[in-house]
């Protein structure tokens, strides 16, 4: 008797719908086991992780603030992954966007520059993110170099470059030698939505991005092209779709969104440029993209869920001394379960019982 995997004749729509929920359920079971191993009460820990942040207004806002970059980056990544293009360097594009936008903020600091500064910073951030993403894209289409490795390598380069800037030329002279720029001027910050709160304009921009992506993917020829090139490259070639052009386009779009997310994060919640502005948003966004089934609305929901794990993880560290790395383990396990459940959309298991051996005279 053995278990084998076989292709379904038709994709299972039921499983497509519930697979993210199955994945979350399995992850929570696995997490409970891990909490027990760590010597914590799993019910209490899960409560701190997933319920407590939803019960006060401050945490709710904080979740939305964290979801903003995650969703924005994941939307861009979903374009790439739908087209079967692998941009895994969103973290670097995020950082470069943050750096490029901050340049303007640093240069206009203390001058009487007007309200054009913040919008210009956002544009700069998006443009720089797109240009940075074009490096791996062009290396791929021009020279055939694997975009997976080049985009990832550029994350380290961006990280070091940011580090150099805030320790060197852009360091705040009054910052007690901390590696940070001075606080941005009010005209160089993303405005807060609710007085005294944390939620900022970036959240609205993120919602606009989600809406635009829904239209692009669902209602335009380009969106159709992206999906065909990813799902059926041969058919796409016969259809005359330019796959190389799509590599460049999807990379540029995802880079622009990651860069925009980067500068919004710096000009919004953080308020200045410093190392460590991202707790790995660019990588967590990969999970968001897959958990959201590469669908804009799904990504919006998934982004909030993963933002919840960040906030829950921080609270669990304070309240129950659960190490922050548990959040990363949790996110990794979640991605495994998401991918595994997704596999059940196109495949199913079948138990094969070997037929009883019948002895015959001559074979």
């Amino acid at each position: 008797m053995r278990l084998v995997l076989e292709k379904r004749t038709e994709r299972s729509n039921t499983i497509a719908l519930v697979s993210p929920l199955i994945a979350i359920g399995l992850t929570i079971v696995t997490m409970s086991i891990m909490f027990v191993i760590l010597g914590k009460n799993p019910i209490l820990a899960l409560g701190v992780y997933f319920i407590d942040p939803l019960t006060d207004a401050y945490s709710l806002q904080e979740i939305a603030v964290k979801a903003t970059p995650l969703v924005m980056i994941a939307i861009g990544l979903s374009f790439c992954y739908l087209a079967n293009v692998w941009n895994i360097g969103a973290e670097g594009q995020f950082l470069v966007g943050a750096v490029a936008g901050s340049w303007l903020a640093v240069k206009t600091q203390g001058t009487d520059a007007g309200y054009w500064v913040m919008p210009a910073m956002l544009l700069l951030g998006a443009a720089a993110g797109a240009l940075y993403a074009l490096i791996p894209a062009l290396c791929r289409v021009r020279f055939g170099a694997s975009e997976i490795l080049t985009s990832l390598m550029l994350v380290y380069v961006a990280d070091l470059f940011l580090d150099y800037l805030v320790r060197g030329p852009w360091r705040d002279p009054k910052g007690f030698n901390f590696p940070t720029t001075a606080e941005f001027d009010p005209v160089a910050t993303v405005p807060i939505l609710i007085e005294g709160g944390r939620l900022h304009m970036g959240f609205v921009i993120m919602l606009i991005v989600v809406a635009a992506a829904s239209v692009l993917l669902g209602r335009t020829i380009k969106g159709f092209e992206i999906r065909v090139v990813g799902a059926a490259p041969r058919a796409a070639r016969f259809g005359g779709f330019n796959a190389k052009q799509l590599v460049v386009l999807t990379f540029a779009a995802s880079g622009a969104l990651a860069g925009l997310a980067g500068i919004i994060e710096v000009a919004g919640p953080v308020g200045h440029l410093q190392p460590g502005i991202s707790p790995g948003y660019g990588f967590t966004a990969i999970i968001v993209a897959f958990l959201g089934r590469l669908n804009p609305i799904g990504i919006l929901v998934a982004g909030f869920f993963l933002a919840l794990t960040f906030i829950g993880g921080e609270q669990a560290q304070i309240a129950m001394k659960i190490p922050l790395d548990v959040t990363k383990v949790f996110q990794g396990i979640l991605l495994f379960y998401v991918l595994a459940s997704d596999s059940m959309i196109t495949y199913r298991f079948r138990l094969i019982v070997p037929p009883r051996k019948v002895s015959r005279g001559a074979a």
Binding site: L5, C139, G144, L152, L160, F161, R167, F283
Partner: protein, 305 residues
């Protein structure tokens, strides 16, 4: 001369983890599986390897812990990609994310601890030879293991029947399947070997390279190992050249930083990563006559029954 000897010794040390991890990945990829989780397996191997050595005081036990940890993670990867036919790129990324978290969790108590690093070989007479003595006869065991490993893998891939079958699986899994070879089982072993090597490579870092554990101490070496396999065109001999080349870049930039040549240290630190990008571009560009990658690399195989 002293400086040159010191540089060569540190180049060998810096290259060894790259070579070990890349050797494992080379075998995995030659069987047709692309495991992008090398970085994750390495970092867990580093944490477990350090833990093993810290508690038992034995470098060998530490190395074994690293190997076991890497293999276990590789098994998860195999279960997903071979058992459930999941996309290999996405699973590899998941493995890296999980590995970074796990190593932080496992290694949280190890930060600040120190162990006695792996001893270096001492052959009376030979090690004391001028110039080449220490370089040839004064390394730690990992360096020699890495070289034996790559020679062994070369022999296995090109001189044994099993190696030929493994390469056949990587080039055309349908034909290999039709000939009656158990493609998935062969790939499972290849993936496990890759994991074991990545775990050992990770363990090398806290056991021999620096005698302590820091979270994130692999610093992208797993990714560089992946790039090395591409650089080597999936051939063992070129892998050695590539690994030592990258080790040299890493060490030279460190020495340049130390000498204070006026370039910001961050730019020098970025060199190995930039070099990887440039090398990938040059190598891919030079390959005009078609790809040298295993033809079935990264594709899903579900046998029809």
């Amino acid at each position: 001369m002293e400086l040159l000897e010191a540089i060569i010794l540190s180049v060998l040390a810096a290259s060894t983890p790259l070579l070990i991890a890349a050797t494992g990945e080379l075998v995995t990829e030659r069987s047709g599986v692309l495991n992008l989780g090398v970085e994750g397996m390495m970092i867990v191997g580093a944490a477990c390897g350090f833990g093993g050595a810290l508690y038992t005081g034995s470098i060998t036990v530490g190395a074994l812990c690293g190997i076991v940890a890497g293999t276990l993670l590789a098994l998860i990867f195999a279960l997903m990609t071979l058992g459930l036919a999941v996309n290999q790129v996405a699973t590899g990324l998941a493995l890296t994310i999980l590995g970074i978290g796990l190593s932080g969790l496992i290694g949280a108590g190890f930060v600040g601890e120190r162990i006695t690093p792996a001893p270096h070989l001492r052959v009376p007479g030979l090690t004391d030879l001028p110039y080449l003595g220490r370089i040839l006869f004064g390394e730690d065991a990992f360096v020699y293991v890495s070289l034996f490993l790559i020679v062994g893998i070369w022999w296995f891939l090109y001189r044994t029947r099993a190696g030929l079958i493994l390469r056949a699986c990587g080039d055309n899994h349908l034909s290999a399947h039709a000939l009656g070879y158990p493609v998935l089982r062969i790939r499972l072993f290849a993936v496990m070997f890759g994991g074991a090597c990545a775990g050992l490579a990770g363990a090398y870092l806290p056991l021999a390279y620096t005698p302590f554990f820091i979270p994130g101490m692999t610093a992208g070496r797993g990714w560089i190992a992946l790039a090395l396999v591409v650089f080597a065109s999936w051939r063992p001999a070129r892998l050695v050249v590539g690994a030592y080349l990258f080790g040299t870049v890493t060490i030279l930039q460190l020495h340049a930083q130390g000498a204070g040549i006026g370039v910001p240290s961050q730019f020098m630190s970025a060199l190995p990563y930039l070099a990887t990008v440039i090398v990938l571009v040059l190598i891919s560009r030079a390959r005009t006559g078609g790809s040298t990658a295993p033809a079935a690399l990264g594709t899903v195989f579900v046998p029809d029954r």
